[in-house]
C-alpha cells in the first residue's frame, strides 16, 4: 500500500495556510469589485482539501505503526531545531477532526456572518487557526508546539477582536491575548530550560528520557510546573480562566472552534507532556487539583450565568478541568477519548444555540422561552449535544466518563466524587439552558423565530448525526471500555447523577409554575458565582494594579531622577543654563560643536606625544 498521503501529511496545515493567505486580499480596501465572498469560498475549498487529504492519509495509516517525519528548520551554532511530525492514526485522526470541524464551522459562518463586512478577516483567521491546530496535532516537537500555541494566542486576539469597535470586544481580546501570553511565556521558559537538561524537544524522546531521568526534585518541580502553565492558560483553568468568558464577545462560528479544538490545544500538549510531568509528584498533584477545582468551580459558575455563550464557556473550563484530572492521574488514553466525545458534543451545543442567537438577537437566557414549538430541529440538536456531553447512556460522553470514573473510583475516590459532582452540575446546567430557551411560553423575543438558513442547519444536522454515531464509532475502533471490568457502582452513580441533574433542571426550568428568576441560596452566593468568583476584580486589584503602579513609578523615576540629573548637570556646567531651552539660535549650535571639537582635539593633543613615545 502506498503511503503517498501520509508521507505528504504536512500539506494538510499548508492547505489551510494557503487559504488564509489567499483570503486576505478581499479585506476592505484591496479587492473591492467582487465583494468579500470569494475569501470565504476559497477558505472553505482549501479546508475541504485538507479534510479530504487527512482522511485519505488516515486510511493509509490505520492499523499501521506510527511514522515520523522530520524537517530541519534552523541549524545554527550547535542548535538544531527540527520540525518533527508524528504520523499515526491518533494524530492524523485529530488533524482530520480539526479540518472536518473547521469545514462545518466555516459553512456555518457563511450564513452566520452573511452581512458582516469582516469576511476576509474572519476566514483568513479561521484558516490560520486550522493550519495551526492541524500542525499542532501532527507536531511531535515541544518547540513547535510552543510556536503554534503562541501564534494561536495572536489568532485569538484577532478573532475575538473581530468586531473591534465595541468596547467589550476590545477588552475581551486584550484579556484573552494577555492571559494566554502569560501561560505561553512560562511555557517558553520551560522550553528554554528543558533543552540543556533533556537534550531534545521531541515528545517521543522526551518520554524516553523521562523514564530514566534523575532530576533534582526542586528542578523537576519548577520545570514541570512551568510546562503546565501553558496548558492552564489555553484550557482556561483557574486562575487563568477569565479570558474564555470574555472571548465570548467574538463571533459565534469562531466559538464553535474555540470552545472545542482551540482550548484542546492546551490539553493536547499536556497529554503529550504527561511523561515529563509525571517526573514531579508535586506537578502531578497541581495538575489534578487545578483541574478538580476548575471543574467544580466552573460548573457552578455556569449555572449562575444568564448569557447563553457563557453558560457553555464555563462548561468548557469544567470539562477541560476533567481532562487535567485525567492527565494528572496518568490516564492519557482516556483523556484522548474524552476529548473526542467532548468535542462533538460541545460543537453541537454551540451550533444549536448559535442559530437561535442569530435571529433572536439576544444572548440573554432570561429573554428566551417557548422555542420548542418554533425551532424543534435546534431543540433536538441541543438535546443530543447535552446528552452526549454528560454521562447519559448510550451516547458518547457516557463511555468516556465511565472509563475515567472507573479508574478514579478504584484509585482516587475523592476525585471520583469531583467527577460525579461535575457531571451532575453540568447536567443541571444544560437542563437549565434547554428549559430556559425551549420551555415555557414564547416571549417577546422569541415569538418570531424560524429555523435559519440551510447553511446553518445543515452543519448542525451533520454534527448531530455524528454525535449519535459516536458510540458506534467507539465500538468500531475498539475504544469502548471493557464492560466486564467496569465497576457497576460507577455506572450507576454516574447515570443517577446525570438523571438527577437533568430532572432537577427540567423540573425547575420546564415548569412554568416555578417562579423565575430562581434563587439558590443567599444573594451574595449567587452573585459570587454569577460574577465569576469576582476574578475580574481580583485581577484588577492585583496584577493590573501592580503593573500599572510599577510602570508609572519607573517612568517617574526616569523623567525626574535619571533625566532630571542629566538636565541639571547640563544646565549647571556645560551651558550655564542657556542652550537647553527649547529654541536656541544657530550660533549656539556652532558654539557647542566647537567646544566638542576643541575637547576632542585637546585630548588628542595630550595623548599624542605619549603615544609617539611608545614607538
Amino acid at each position: 500500500m502506498t503511503h503517498f498521503f501520509s508521507q505528504t501529511i504536512w500539506l494538510v496545515p499548508c492547505y489551510a495556510l494557503i487559504g488564509a493567505v489567499l483570503a486576505i486580499p478581499w479585506s476592505p480596501g484591496l479587492i473591492r469589485r467582487t465583494g468579500p465572498r470569494p475569501a470565504g469560498y476559497i477558505s472553505i475549498f482549501m479546508t475541504l482539501l485538507a479534510f479530504a487529504h487527512s482522511l485519505l492519509a488516515l486510511r493509509e495509516i490505520w492499523h499501521q505503526a506510527p511514522e515520523y517525519l522530520s524537517f530541519s528548520w534552523l541549524h545554527a551554532a550547535g542548535l538544531n531545531i527540527t520540525l518533527d511530525l508524528e504520523v499515526s492514526a491518533v494524530t492524523v485522526g485529530a488533524a482530520a477532526g480539526i479540518a472536518g470541524l473547521n469545514l462545518l464551522a466555516q459553512i456555518y459562518a457563511v450564513a452566520y456572518l452573511e452581512m458582516d463586512w469582516g469576511w476576509a478577516r474572519f476566514y483568513s483567521l479561521i484558516a490560520l487557526f486550522e493550519a495551526g491546530m492541524c500542525l499542532l496535532a501532527l507536531c511531535n516537537s515541544l518547540f513547535f508546539s510552543y510556536v503554534v500555541l503562541e501564534i494561536l494566542t495572536l489568532g485569538t486576539y484577532l478573532i475575538v477582536g473581530m468586531w473591534y469597535n465595541q468596547p467589550l470586544v476590545v477588552t475581551g481580546a486584550r484579556d484573552a491575548f494577555l492571559t494566554k501570553r502569560v501561560g505561553d511565556l512560562v511555557l517558553l521558559m520551560a522550553v528554554v530550560a528543558l533543552l540543556p537538561i533533556a537534550g531534545t524537544w521531541n515528545f517521543t524522546e522526551l518520554a524516553q528520557w523521562a523514564q530514566t531521568a534523575q532530576l533534582e526534585p526542586r528542578v523537576a518541580t519548577l520545570l514541570t510546573l512551568a510546562l503546565v502553565a501553558g496548558p492552564v492558560a489555553k484550557c482556561a483553568q483557574f486562575p487563568l480562566h477569565l479570558w474564555l468568558d470574555e472571548a465570548m464577545e467574538g463571533p459565534y462560528p469562531a466559538t464553535i472552534l474555540r470552545n472545542t479544538v482551540v482550548v484542546e490545544t492546551g490539553a493536547w500538549v499536556l497529554i503529550k507532556l504527561q511523561p515529563v510531568i509525571a517526573l514531579s509528584p508535586v506537578a502531578s498533584q497541581v495538575v489534578i487539583w487545578i483541574g478538580a477545582v476548575t471543574a467544580i468551580g466552573a460548573s457552578l459558575i455556569s449555572i449562575a450565568q444568564i448569557d447563553i455563550k457563557r453558560v457553555l464557556s464555563y462548561l468548557v473550563s469544567a470539562y477541560m478541568g476533567l481532562v487535567f484530572v485525567a492527565v494528572g492521574t496518568g490516564q492519557t488514553q482516556t483523556a484522548l477519548m474524552f476529548l473526542f466525545t467532548y468535542t462533538i458534543a460541545m460543537a453541537l451545543l454551540v451550533m444549536s444555540t448559535g442559530g437561535i442567537v442569530l435571529n433572536n438577537i439576544s444572548q440573554n437566557l432570561t429573554h428566551y422561552g417557548g422555542l420548542w414549538s418554533r425551532r424543534p430541529i435546534s431543540g433536538i440538536c441541543l438535546l443530543v449535544g447535552a446528552g452526549s456531553l454528560v454521562a447519559l447512556p448510550p451516547l458518547g460522553g457516557f463511555w468516556a466518563l465511565v472509563q475515567m470514573g472507573d479508574f478514579l473510583w478504584k484509585n482516587q475516590p475523592l476525585l471520583f466524587g469531583v467527577l460525579l459532582a461535575v457531571n451532575g452540575l453540568s447536567a443541571f446546567s444544560l437542563a437549565r439552558l434547554f428549559g430556559s430557551m425551549f420551555g415555557g411560553k414564547p416571549t417577546a423575543m422569541t415569538v418570531r423565530s424560524p429555523e435559519g438558513l440551510w447553511l446553518l442547519v445543515m452543519p448542525m444536522m451533520v454534527l448531530m448525526g455524528l454525535a449519535l454515531h459516536v458510540p458506534l464509532l467507539l465500538l468500531q475502533w475498539q475504544l469502548l471500555p471493557d464492560w466486564s471490568q467496569i465497576d457497576r457502582t460507577v455506572v450507576f452513580l454516574l447515570v443517577f447523577l446525570t438523571i438527577d441533574g437533568l430532572a432537577l433542571g427540567s423540573l425547575i426550568y420546564l415548569n412554568e409554575g416555578w417562579k423565575k428568576p430562581v434563587r439558590f441560596g443567599p444573594q451574595f452566593l449567587q452573585d459570587f458565582f454569577a460574577y465569576d468568583l469576582y476574578t475580574a476584580k481580583l485581577y484588577k486589584v492585583t496584577i493590573v494594579f501592580f503593573v500599572g503602579i510599577v510602570s508609572q513609578a519607573v517612568y517617574w523615576f526616569d523623567r525626574f531622577i535619571v533625566d532630571g540629573v542629566v538636565n541639571l548637570v547640563g544646565l549647571a556646567t556645560v551651558f550655564g543654563g542657556q542652550s537647553l531651552r527649547y529654541n536656541i539660535s544657530g550660533q549656539t549650535q556652532f558654539y557647542v560643536l566647537s567646544i566638542l571639537l576643541g575637547i576632542s582635539l585637546f585630548l588628542f593633543a595630550i595623548v599624542f606625544p605619549l603615544f609617539n613615545l611608545s614607538f
Partner: protein
C-alpha cells in the same frame, strides 16, 4: 570594493548638496533614492559573495594614510559587519523613501542622510581603531542637524542632548582606543595588529569600562539612555528610523568588536554585571513603555528594552547567544524601522500621536486599515510572536544565554510579556475601538506611502519563517568570536592532556 560603499554616498551627498536644482524639483530625492537603492543592492551582492567557510575579515583594503599616528585606511568586513551594512543600506532607502516630498531644504536634508549612511558604513567596515572613531564622529554631525532642523517642537533640546551624549561617548571610546594602542605598544591602530593579551588585568578593566560606557551610551543602556526617547520622539520619523534602526547598532557592533573581541579574558569579569544591566534595561524599557501616552515615545522606550536583550546575549557570549545578539540587532533594526514608519504615517494622517485621542483606525472606510494591519504585525513582531523575525532572534538569545545566566534570561522572557502588554495597549487604542465619524476625515494613505512598510513587513515575515537566511551570514564570525572567548577555559581544561601527550612523546 568597500571604498565604494563609503565614497558613493559622500560624492552623492556633495553633488546633491551643491549642484543647483530648480525650486520645487524632485531631483534631490530621486538621486538620493537611486544612490540608496544602489548601495543596498551592492552591499547585498557583497553579502552573497561573502565566503562563509571562513570567519575572518574579507574584502580587505589597505592604504597607508597617516603613518606617524598609526591611522591607516584599513577596511574589511565579516559576518558581523556586513549584515549591518546591508541593514544600513535598506534603512537609508526606507528613510529617504518615507520622507515627505514637500520637505523644506531638501538638498541639505538628502545630502545629510547620505552622509549618515557613509559614516555608519565607514564605521562598520573600518578595521583601524582611529578610522572607526573618525567615521563614528563623522556620522554624529549630520544626525545632529537632521534632528535639529527637521524635528518636532523640542528638537533643539533633543538634538543638543543627543550631541552631548554621543560626543562624550566618542571621547570615551577614543580615550580607550588610544590607551589600547599605547599600552599594547602596537605599531598602528589596525585592529589586526592589536592584542591585549599582555596587558595587566587592571588596565584591561579600565579600558574595557571606558568602551562599555562609550558604547553603552550609543546602544543605549539604562541609565545612559535619557537622550534616546527625546531624540527619537523629536526627530522626524525618517530620522528616527536611522537613529534607532541603524545608529544604535553601532553601539552593539562596537561592544562586540572592540569589547568582546579585544578583551576576552576581562569580559569574563564584567559579564555578570553586563547581564544584570541588560536585564534591568529590558525590564526598565518595557515598564516605562507601558506608562507612555504618546505612541512614538512608547516605541522609543520599547527600543531601549529590546536592546537590553543584546547585552544579555553579549554577556553570556556563547556561540548561540552572540549569534542571537547580532540577529536581534538586525531584527530590531527592521522592526523598529517598521514601527517608526507606521507611527509616522499615523501621525501624518491623523495628526496626533496621543493614545487617548487615537481610536478605531482599523475602520475599513474612514480609517487606515492597511496601516493598522501592518502596525499589528509590527507590534507582534516586536513582542516576539513566532513566525516573525523578532521571535527567531530573541529565542536564540534566550536559549544561548540560559546556560550561563539563567535568572537574567528568565527575567528577559518575563519582560517580553510586558512587551506584549504595551503593544496590546497601543493596538487596542489606535487600531481597535470606534472611529469618531465626525472627526475622521483623514487623508488617504496612497500606495506609494505604504511601500516601505510593506517591504519591511515582508522581510520581517520571510526571515521569521526561515531564519536560516538571517543567521547563515553571521554564524561563522560569531562562532569564532565566542570560541576565542572561551579559549582560555578550554586551554585550562586540556592542559593535563597536553602534558600527558608530551609525556608519552618523551617515553617514545
Amino acid at each position: 570594493m568597500l571604498t565604494a560603499l563609503i565614497l558613493v554616498p559622500i560624492i552623492g551627498a556633495i553633488l546633491i548638496g551643491f549642484l543647483p536644482t530648480p525650486e520645487g524639483s524632485n531631483l534631490p530625492r530621486k538621486a538620493a533614492l537611486a544612490i540608496a537603492i544602489g548601495l543596498f543592492f551592492y552591499s547585498f551582492w557583497l553579502l552573497t559573495q561573502l565566503d562563509l567557510s571562513q570567519s575572518g575579515v574579507q574584502f580587505t583594503e589597505y592604504l597607508t594614510w597617516a603613518k606617524p599616528i598609526g591611522l591607516n585606511y584599513t577596511l574589511g568586513v565579516d559576518g558581523l559587519a556586513l549584515p549591518l551594512v546591508v541593514l544600513n543600506g535598506l534603512l537609508t532607502w526606507v528613510a529617504i523613501y518615507s520622507t515627505r516630498e514637500k520637505i523644506h531644504r531638501p538638498r541639505l536634508y538628502y545630502s545629510l542622510v547620505l552622509l549618515v549612511n557613509a559614516g555608519v558604513t565607514g564605521a562598520f567596515v573600518a578595521q583601524n581603531l582611529l578610522l572607526f572613531i573618525l567615521f563614528y564622529e563623522l556620522e554624529l554631525i549630520p544626525v545632529y542637524f537632521l534632528i535639529a532642523i527637521w524635528g518636532g517642537a523640542k528638537s533643539q533640546y533633543a538634538a543638543t542632548k543627543f550631541l552631548l551624549y554621543t560626543a562624550v561617548s566618542g571621547i570615551l571610546i577614543l580615550a580607550a582606543f588610544l590607551g589600547i594602542a599605547w599600552l599594547c605598544g602596537a605599531s598602528s591602530f589596525d585592529l589586526a595588529t592589536i592584542s591585549t593579551e599582555d596587558l595587566s588585568q587592571k588596565s584591561q578593566l579600565i579600558l574595557l569600562s571606558l568602551l562599555l560606557v562609550g558604547f553603552g551610551i550609543k546602544i543605549p543602556l539604562v541609565p545612559l539612555h535619557t537622550w534616546q526617547p527625546d531624540a527619537y520622539v523629536e526627530s522626524a520619523p525618517s530620522v528616527a528610523i536611522l537613529l534607532g534602526g541603524i545608529l544604535a547598532k553601532l553601539g552593539v557592533y562596537g561592544l562586540l568588536r572592540f569589547g568582546l573581541e579585544l578583551f576576552p579574558e576581562t569580559w569574563h569579569l564584567v559579564s555578570p554585571g553586563l547581564a544584570i544591566t541588560g536585564s534591568v534595561t529590558v525590564i526598565y524599557g518595557a515598564l516605562s513603555a507601558i506608562a507612555q501616552k504618546d505612541i512614538k515615545r512608547m516605541v522609543a522606550y520599547s527600543s531601549i528594552g529590546h536592546m537590553g536583550y543584546i547585552l544579555v546575549a553579549a554577556a553570556a557570549s556563547t556561540e548561540l547567544s552572540v549569534l542571537g545578539g547580532v540577529a536581534q540587532a538586525i531584527s530590531h533594526g527592521l522592526i523598529l524601522a517598521l514601527l517608526f514608519e507606521l507611527v509616522g504615517i499615523v501621525e501624518d494622517k491623523v495628526g496626533t500621536r496621543e493614545l487617548d485621542v487615537l481610536n478605531g483606525l482599523m475602520n475599513p472606510v474612514r480609517g487606515l486599515p492597511l496601516v493598522s494591519a501592518l502596525l499589528i504585525t509590527a507590534g507582534m513582531a516586536s513582542a516576539g510572536i513566532p513566525g516573525l523575525v523578532g521571535f527567531a532572534a530573541e529565542f536564540l538569545v534566550f536559549q544561548g544565554s540560559f546556560s550561563i545566566f539563567p535568572i537574567c534570561t528568565l527575567l528577559c522572557i518575563f519582560a517580553s510579556g510586558l512587551t506584549a502588554v504595551y503593544f496590546v495597549i497601543l493596538l487596542n487604542r489606535t487600531c481597535f475601538g470606534k472611529l469618531d465619524n465626525k472627526l475622521a476625515y483623514y487623508p488617504r494613505v496612497v500606495r506609494s506611502e505604504q511601500i516601505p512598510a510593506l517591504v519591511l513587513t515582508a522581510i520581517i515575515m520571510v526571515l521569521g519563517i526561515h531564519p536560516t537566511w538571517l543567521v547563515r551570514w553571521i554564524e561563522p564570525t560569531t562562532d569564532a568570536i565566542a570560541q576565542s572567548f572561551h579559549k582560555p577555559k578550554i586551554v585550562a581544561i586540556s592542559q593535563p592532556n597536553l602534558i600527558a601527550s608530551f609525556g608519552s612523546d618523551l617515553d617514545r
